[in-house]
């Protein structure tokens, strides 16, 4: 028992790193994903093509490769090369990657709204932006809650990838202790934490779905 208590100090530090990665990535990548999805459906071909290419790159390469690239290779790029501290590099890679996935979820949601909704907005004198903001996006939010929930739960566990930058998140901390003490308890603690986090998120998203159930379509 005493042993567990001494483990908890560094484990909680690891939890803190994991939670920071999770929340900062989520808060930045959701709005960025929404913006990207709007650019993706833009009628200006160069813009939508650019975003399409971006999404292809982000979904077509491993997140771990992107992490390594931002941390090790970005500083070597001529002119724009900057050396980021490990935490900022990790956040940048995660936000860029998750925004691409969220963009595709939002795009699916936007394109699932019937054309009649746009037409109703238009004949009532609304601009495209007003129609989007007041008519289309509120309905999109309801439809994308399940896939966003899925992606968010994946993010909790993906944060463990930052071990490649030697950052002490929950899982890396656990492994360090296991290797030092020859005791598997830290793995169990880590598993319990990830499960608890998923439970909380599932609850939050269920509440959101309930709230949106106020209207049917």
């Amino acid at each position: 028992m005493e042993k567990i208590i001494t483990m908890m100090g560094p484990m909680l530090d690891g939890v803190y790193v994991t939670l920071q990665m999770f929340f900062i990535t989520l808060v930045l990548s959701l709005p960025l994903g929404l913006l990207l999805s709007l650019a993706r459906i833009s009628k200006y071909k160069p813009i939508s093509f650019l975003v399409e290419t971006y999404i292809w790159l982000m979904r077509g390469t491993p997140l771990m490769l992107q992490l390594l690239f931002v941390y090790y290779a970005l500083p070597l790029v001529p002119y724009i090369g900057i050396k980021l501290p490990d935490f900022s590099a990790a956040i940048l890679a995660f936000v860029l990657n998750y925004a691409a996935y969220f963009a595709e979820i939002f795009r699916g949601g936007i394109q699932s709204i019937e054309r009649g909704q746009y037409e109703a907005g238009k004949v009532l004198g609304m601009t495209y932006v007003q129609t989007m903001r007041r008519i289309i996006l509120p309905q999109v939010l309801k439809r994308v809650v399940p896939p966003i929930s899925n992606e968010t739960i994946t993010l909790v566990k993906d944060t463990s990838l930052i071990y490649v930058l030697a950052m002490n998140d929950l899982l890396r901390t656990a492994r360090t202790i296991v290797q030092r003490e020859f005791d598997m308890t830290p793995f169990v603690i880590a598993a319990v934490f990830y499960l608890a986090m998923t439970l909380v998120l599932t609850w939050v998203f269920n509440k959101l779905e309930e709230r949106y159930a106020a209207y049917d379509e």
């Binding site: 019937e114 009532l124 004198g125 609304m126 601009t127 106020a214």
Partner: protein, 252 residues
């Protein structure tokens, strides 16, 4: 007074010409019914009026203001987006599929555009919206979501929503075609009421009884052209064109 003037409207979908030079004038307070087989271009014509469809050629004038016209080379030019929007919201539209906003209650559906587009304050528009709901007989439904309403009720809300923008012209695109037969009556009643109040109305419809009874002018369209037009009396009792005769016969 001329509310609407169309001259030589042409419209193509890819290579299919759906409107082949339509000209039409509608005066204030007139109720015009457009009838014809499906694919005749009647809905497209209506949708061209408020630029849900863009015309390829011709002139559209709404209440004396030009929406689209031809330049010297005969190419169709629309006025600026801002101007076009101002011209078009003088026309209310009711769709076959209602197109109510499902995430808003009935009352919010009605007040949204006046508040957002015209900047009318909520405490001013709410009583007006409630008045409109009473008029279409749905005041007690004001806090319901559209999914709780029958088709006929939805369409009456859609009419109230369009009227809340205080349009000068109302366009109806087959307003009863998606309804169960026993629900068409309540919608037609609301439209009849509007006609009695001298609203200028253009109604694309398959309801021959309604066209005969309420319209002052009936237009028969087929294959992208106006084949024949006249009073309901002339069109229904004494059609001149063989295509009109054949169509009316098939409707019986």
């Amino acid at each position: 007074m001329n509310m609407l003037r169309l001259n030589n409207i042409h419209k193509k979908f890819n290579h299919l010409e759906v409107l082949k030079g339509i000209s039409l004038e509608v005066s204030q307070g007139e109720v015009v019914a457009i009838i014809g087989p499906s694919g005749s271009g009647k809905s497209t014509l209506l949708r061209c009026l408020n630029r849900l469809e863009v015309i390829d050629q011709g002139t559209i004038e709404i209440e004396g203001e030009i929406l689209a016209t031809e330049d010297t080379e005969g190419k169709c030019q629309y006025v600026s987006e801002q101007k076009a929007r101002e011209i078009c919201f003088k026309m209310g539209m009711v769709f076959q599929q209602f197109n109510l906003f499902p995430h808003m209650t009935v009352i919010d559906n009605i007040i949204e555009a006046p508040m957002l587009v015209k900047g009318i304050k909520k405490d001013i528009i709410i009583p007006e919206a409630e008045e409109l709901l009473k008029k279409v007989g749905l005041f007690e439904k004001k806090d319901s979501y559209p999914s709780r309403l029958s088709g006929g009720q939805k369409q009456r809300v859609a009419i109230a929503r369009a009227l809340a923008m205080k349009p000068d012209i109302m366009l109806f695109d087959e307003p009863t075609s998606a309804l169960d037969p026993e629900l068409t009556g309540e919608v037609l009643k609301a439209m009849r009421q509007l006609a009695l109040e001298h609203m200028t109305m253009i109604v694309v419809t398959h309801e021959m009884a309604f066209a005969r009874e309420v319209a002052q002018r009936v237009i028969f369209m087929d294959n992208g052209d106006i084949v024949e037009e006249g009073t309901p009396e002339q069109i229904f009792n004494n059609p001149q064109q063989p295509r009109t005769q054949a169509f009316l016969k098939s409707m019986l």
